[in-house]
Each structure stands twice: as structure tokens, then as C-alpha cells.
Amino acid sequence: MVVQNSKSNILIVEDEKGLRLGTQRLLEEEGYAVSAAENGNEGIKLGTSKEFDIAVIDLRMPDIDGLEVLKEIKNVYPNTVCFIATAFASYETAIQATRIGAYGYIPKPFTPEEFIYQIEQGIKQRELILSAERLKKEREENLFELASEKSRLNAIIKSINEGVLVLNKNGELAYYNYAALKYLNIREINIGENVIDKLPSKIVAVVKTIFSNDTFLLKTYTVQIEIKPNNELILEAACTPVPHPDGSLAGVVVTLGNITEFKKIEVIKSQFVSMVAHEMKTPLAAVQGFLNIIVDDTINVEKEKRKDYLKRSIVRLKSLTDLVNDLLDISRMELRTKHREIENIKVKDILSNVLQMLELEIKKKNITVQKNIEEKLPAIQADQNDITRIISNLLSNAIKYNKENGSIGIKLGSSPNYLILQISDTGIGMKPEERSKLFSEFYRIKNDRTRGISGTGLGLSIVKRIVESYHGKIEVDSQFEVGTTFTINLPINLN
């Protein structure tokens, strides 16, 4: 299009002045842009300085041969259409000129019509060359794009964490990535190889099912495979049919995902549910046992006993309510749906409130409370309910597991960044192996010393969760049959 829309550039290399000026004028009248050189050297200079559409070169010039000029121009601009003009036309020079790259041969003398005709032919040739050039360039660009798209896709699939295998209908490998080899523990595999024997039987079964059906649905079939025993590596293989463009079955793509962690969480979850079920069923069984007796007419229950059983049922139901409340607290903490109202609070005041709340229990066991509270304690930023929960859980443990006439020590102090609360009791204490399990859900030390002490087994687990949610620290120190001390560090400024 460049040629048609703008003036074509024509170079005339001609030593004979009259002819040079005559052709120049003729071409200019026809609307061409013309440059002229009066000898061979000048012709080379002009012809290689910019790309001309057409060059008309005299064969015989005093300085250098026209063929030499042609060669030099063609060397730099192979797409310039060149004519050789000569009065000494010979078959040999014509062949030679064409071989070097001349498009045509203009014999002298020529009429203006003959000359213009030749130039027009040359312009057409030039257009053809240029459009062929453009097409070639476009095609090369497309090819390059295609190639880079393919390699990009390849790079993506090779680097993803999911394993990918593509099999054709014969079970031969069409594509794979390294994650697939790693997950399936395959050392060597080749494209085109039949890999059915190298795949886990569960995948093979699914792949064969897909292949054996005449019709297939574009749906994914998944199987879970234990690759390494003891739940060390569990994969989920998703097998999806791959159709040809005509809709027939081409093969199957298998993606492999590592679901080991999900499986572990699943196990923990079901263990937790079992523990909850057991903890809930125990008080329910006791209450139901009592009620069954009371409503049974064949069993004679004295009036006083009946009241005792009902009272004990209430106690068991209360423990069940406590358990449900603790579970809800834990669930809220895990889901982070618990709304917190962070304000500046004085732990000292909360401590007094909790002590007042537990006063009755403290008196029942005749426990002495020794307080050691630092003066001018900084306020901390926290939710009042959280801190109340921490202190009441720790203090009620210190009462429950204490001995009659024992004592509880409460120390409240501070370091530059932390508020430090220490609660110690003179209770039953713990053995080291018991201490390590202390913060686990539902862990309660069961032995002669703890029989008759009720609890949900969630209290300390909740304390730990709260403390950690404030980026604090909880430590426990205990001596068997002597007592236990809990130390809590809470950051003064949350930020």
C-alpha cells in the first residue's frame, strides 16, 4: 500500500547527461519522485543511502560497470526493483544481470512509452514483493505468538503444584508434569509410553471405566489414594475425559492433588466430635438412669432418695450446660465470630469481682487467699469478658483442686511490656506427664484425688486460647501433691 499511496521513488544512474535529464523529466511528469546519479559511484552512494522502489542503471559508465552498481544496491536493498539500460544488449549480459538480481532489461534507444511501460511493470513487481514481504512477516509474527503461547502454557502446567497426566485412549502418555511424577513416585516416564502399569490401581480402574464406555460424560471422577502408609501422603486423583473436536473420546486428563492435610484435619475433627459425644452422653446417661428409676412403678424409691436423685440430676445437667457453653466459646474463638470490645481495663478490679463471685466456694473449703498486688499497675487493652474468663477459670481450678484449709496465692505485677498474673494453689499438683497434656481439650486428670471434682475438661484450653489470642503467654509450674502455679503474661498495649 505504501507504493500506491505515495509517490514511487525512482533512481536513475546514467552518465549521459541528455538521457539522464530526459528520463528524469519524463518520470517526474508521470508523478514519480526521481533521484539521478551521473556516474556509477554516485549511483551506489544514492542507491544504498535509502530504499528506492525502482532503479534504472546504465550498463556502461566511465567509472564503474552498471552490474557492479546493481550488485551493491541489491546487497543493501534486495527489494529494490532494478533495470539495466544499455545500447549494447547481448544475451550474456542479460543473463548475468538477471542472475545478480535485475528485474528487467531496457534496450537503448527507447521511446518514452516503452520506458514508462517498463517502469510501470517494475512498480507492479515492487508491489508484489512488498505485499509478499508483509504476509511473510505477519505469518512469522503469528507463528512466534503461537509458539510463545504454547511454551507459556507448558511452563505454567510444569510448575503448578498439582500433578497432571494426560493419557490417550490406548493408555499411552501424552503429557505429564513433574508434580505428577513426584506424587506417584515414578522415576522415569516417556511420552508415548503405555503407563497403565505405572499408575495406582485406583486411577487405572477409573481410567478404564471412562475408556470402556462408548459414550462419555464430561464429568470428573475422583478417587482418594493413600500413597504412603499411615496417612503420610494421600492424593485425590481427578480423572476427566478429553474429547476430540468432533466429540469423540480422545483420552483422559488426570490431575493429582495432595489432600494429606485435609485428611488430618478430618481425623482431628471426628476425634473431637467423638470426645464431645462421650462427654455429653456421660451426664445424660446418669440423669436418664435416675429418671428411669423414679418413673418405674416396680422400683420402690423412698421419698428422700427420690429428692436426692433429682438434685443429683440437676447437678449433672448443670455440668452439661457448662460443657455446651464452653464448646460454644471455643467454636466462637475458632470462627473468630466473637465480638470483642477492647477497652482499657484494670485487671485488679476484675480480680476482686471474680474473688467475690467465688467467695462461697473459697469459704466452703476454708481456703486462705493471699494477694500481692503491685501498686500503680498499668491498665491493659482487652475485652473485659475475656480477662474475667481467664481469671475465673484459673481461680476455680485453684479452689477445686486445692485441699481443705489450703491457700491460694495471687500475684499481680508488670514488666515494661507485660502484665503478669500468677495464681498458685496448695492442691494436688501434677506429674510431669499430666502437665504436658494439661491444655488439651477434654483432658482431665482422672485418679483418686480428682474423683468427685466436676469440670468440662475445656477450662484451661479456653484460657490458653484467650491468652494466645492476645499474643500473651501462659506457663505452668507444678509439683505433685504440693501445688500448681499458673503464670500469665498479657501485653499491656495490644499494638
Partner: protein, 126 residues
């Protein structure tokens, strides 16, 4: 009428079960842990043992039942279970669980009485 030993760490379950069986004229001895349980069986030689599966440890009941059998105590054992089956501790009458029958908590008085009478009667027949 018979002497029955009940071994369970839940005092409320002990009391309720005792009352049900006492109302049928049986004599009852109880224990709340494996050590005491073994002792009362050795000393009192009951006609039947009722044993809870989960006490201090989740398998205390199994352990104690095995100990009785190993020591030649052939008294029939009725085992109380709660959620053991649900949490995957599949068991049945076997050498590992050498007991004669199971009662699932919560306990219905009729079922308990029926199973107890059944075990006591079987023993008489033998």
C-alpha cells in the same frame, strides 16, 4: 437371689443401677476403679460382675475383664458401654473382650434386669 458387683467410676450410674437390681432382691457391692473392683470380686466372689468399659482410661474395662479371666475368675461379666462403638472401638465377645454381654448407656431398668437375669440363669443351667 444373687450377689452382683458393679464397677463404674460414675457414682450416679452406680447408685441408679444398684437400686434397680436391689429392687429385684439382689445384693450389690460396688467399686469406682479397677483396683477396688478387682478386690471386691476376689473377696466377695459375686455371681455376676457389671463392668464399665471407660473409666480412668478408655479401656480400663477391657483390661480388668482380661485380668479376671487370666486369674481364672469365670464369673459372668456384663459390660456397660457408652460411645466406644461410635468412636471406632469395635468390639464383640472375644478373647480380647472376654465378657458375656453388653448394655449400652443410658441404661433402661427393664433391659438391665433382663440381661442380668439371663446371665444368672445361664450360669445355673451350666
Amino acid at each position: 437371689m444373687a450377689l452382683i458387683a458393679i464397677i463404674d467410676d460414675d457414682i450416679d450410674i452406680l447408685d441408679a443401677s444398684s437400686l434397680v437390681l436391689k429392687s429385684k432382691g439382689h445384693d450389690i457391692v460396688t467399686a469406682t476403679n479397677t483396683t477396688d473392683g478387682y478386690k471386691i470380686v476376689k473377696e466377695r466372689k459375686p455371681n455376676l460382675i457389671i463392668l464399665d468399659v471407660m473409666m480412668e482410661e478408655p479401656d480400663d474395662g477391657f483390661y480388668l475383664a482380661q485380668k479376671f479371666r487370666k486369674d481364672g475368675i469365670k464369673i459372668p461379666i456384663l459390660m456397660y458401654t457408652s460411645v466406644s462403638k461410635a468412636i471406632g472401638m469395635e468390639f464383640d465377645k472375644s478373647e480380647i473382650v472376654p465378657v458375656d454381654d453388653f448394655v449400652e448407656k443410658p441404661i433402661s431398668p427393664e433391659e438391665l434386669v433382663e440381661k442380668v437375669e439371663n446371665l444368672l440363669h445361664l450360669k445355673e443351667v451350666k
